[in-house]
Amino acid sequence: MVMTFLRRELVLLARQKADWLNPLLFFLIVLTLFPLGVGPEPNQLRIMAPGIVWIASLLSVLLAAERLFRDDYRNGVIEQLVASRQGLMAFVLAKVAANWLSTGLPLVVMSPVVAMLLGVESAAFVAMMLTLLLGTPLLSILSVLGAALTMSADKGGILLALLILPLYIPLLIFATAAIEAASMGLPYSGQLAILVAMLLLALALVPLAVASALRINVS
């Protein structure tokens, strides 16, 4: 059932390319703003790179989150799912997977370009790629949660950012700490382990909260 929903999501994404291409473009534009804003000094950029990459990722994922459930809510798909009393959890998992494939995975794929732009060394680059690989699924899970909570709210967009950005903070802290440790030649497996732990915990519990948020919003 998950695969059926996932195929549907991917077909929809393939037909509405702006939904996932625009956040990626936004990611690149935010990245270019930093060297222009703080100055193109290579050493300074290298020090700031982990923070810049992760903040740009958070913002671009957030941008994609707003439309996650909007169309499905408006055309009644979610109402039908809730009424039929089955498949809601599979739907949520497919949403998370599709969101990660369309926003998180491209960030991981683009990270070599980003590393080049910001002058990140190879040791730190590997850490950056690993944190993005492990951290972006968690971003997707949390943005699905935020989108579900604010689905039928009047002013969903800004509210979504206010709710979800604080929840992103722990991820931001450990991901950037891992990259910083790597750039100083220190072991960073501890930070990665915490990222995995947060991911697994969220994967186990958050879909339950998302399903009940969807039920509340259509009732």
Binding site: S152, L162, L163, P166
Partner: protein, 245 residues
């Protein structure tokens, strides 16, 4: 116990119950707070290193502890509201949230005022301070989420759900001083077997803490009464009680 609790789920009963409780809670809160804080601020001894700045503890520690207990209380009310669909539990979530937000803000502000003379900085991005700041954002998020829905019922339910999700932050705040090497010191009040605060300072602190708890409960009673009236304004019992037309 359920026999005793169950009638309170009825708004009218709870309204009168809170009304009876409120004067006692408020009077004792004011008395105990005055006693504890005056003792702490004027008569308790100075610290041999921190001198008079140590007196911030009599506001800072109670408000910080309260910010966490209030959140736990709110999350429990939210759980009851979602699982057993108790209306008054949902209203109490929204009655509790602003109170907890204010306690969190007080703990952050007094902490900053204490950090400046002792650590030499207003703010330090360590785990305890950051997680406490997230707690403030969570409180504000619950309030904002409730306000974003035109339907009160849905808004209350969604805000309750967020309150339950946010409970993960409470153990993080509590253990942050043990899990990370932070600037903020570890727990020194709650380890009763080996107290590291001298009784001359511990007693006024514990009394202030009790005063803060009573004040919180009194404010919750007051706000819950208002919330009940607001939500039940078209019911006959409200008109009968308030003597309106």
């Amino acid at each position: 116990m359920f026999k005793w609790l169950h009638p309170l789920a009825k708004p009218e009963t709870l309204y009168h119950f809170c009304g009876r409780l409120f004067p006692w809670l408020m009077l004792s809160a004011v008395g105990i707070l005055l006693f504890g804080n005056l003792w702490g601020l004027l008569f308790a001894p100075q610290d041999y290193q921190q001198f008079d700045t140590v007196r911030i503890i009599y506001i800072h520690v109670p408000s910080a502890l309260l910010s966490m207990s209030t959140y736990t209380m709110m999350a429990i009310a939210a759980f009851i509201a979602l699982v057993w669909q108790v209306k008054v539990a949902q209203w109490s979530v929204l009655a509790i949230a602003p109170i907890g937000a204010v306690f969190t803000a007080i703990s952050l502000l007094t902490g900053m005022a204490w950090g400046k003379p002792m650590w030499g900085t207003w703010w330090e991005w360590d785990a305890r301070l950051t997680s406490q700041l997230i707690l403030l954002f969570l409180y504000l998020g619950v309030i904002a989420l409730y306000g974003a829905f035109s339907d009160r019922q849905t808004g209350g339910k969604v805000a309750s759900l967020l309150a339950i999700i946010g409970i993960v932050n409470i153990p993080i705040i509590h253990f942050s001083v043990e899990w990370w090497n932070t600037l903020h010191q570890g727990a020194s009040i709650t380890k009763f077997d080996t107290p590291s605060v001298h009784p001359s300072m511990l007693w006024p602190l514990l009394i202030s803490l009790l005063g803060f708890y009573l004040l919180m409960l009194a404010l919750v009673c007051l706000r819950l009464r208002t919330a009940i009236l607001e939500n039940e304004q078209h019911r006959p019992w409200v008109r009968a009680t308030l003597g309106g037309h």
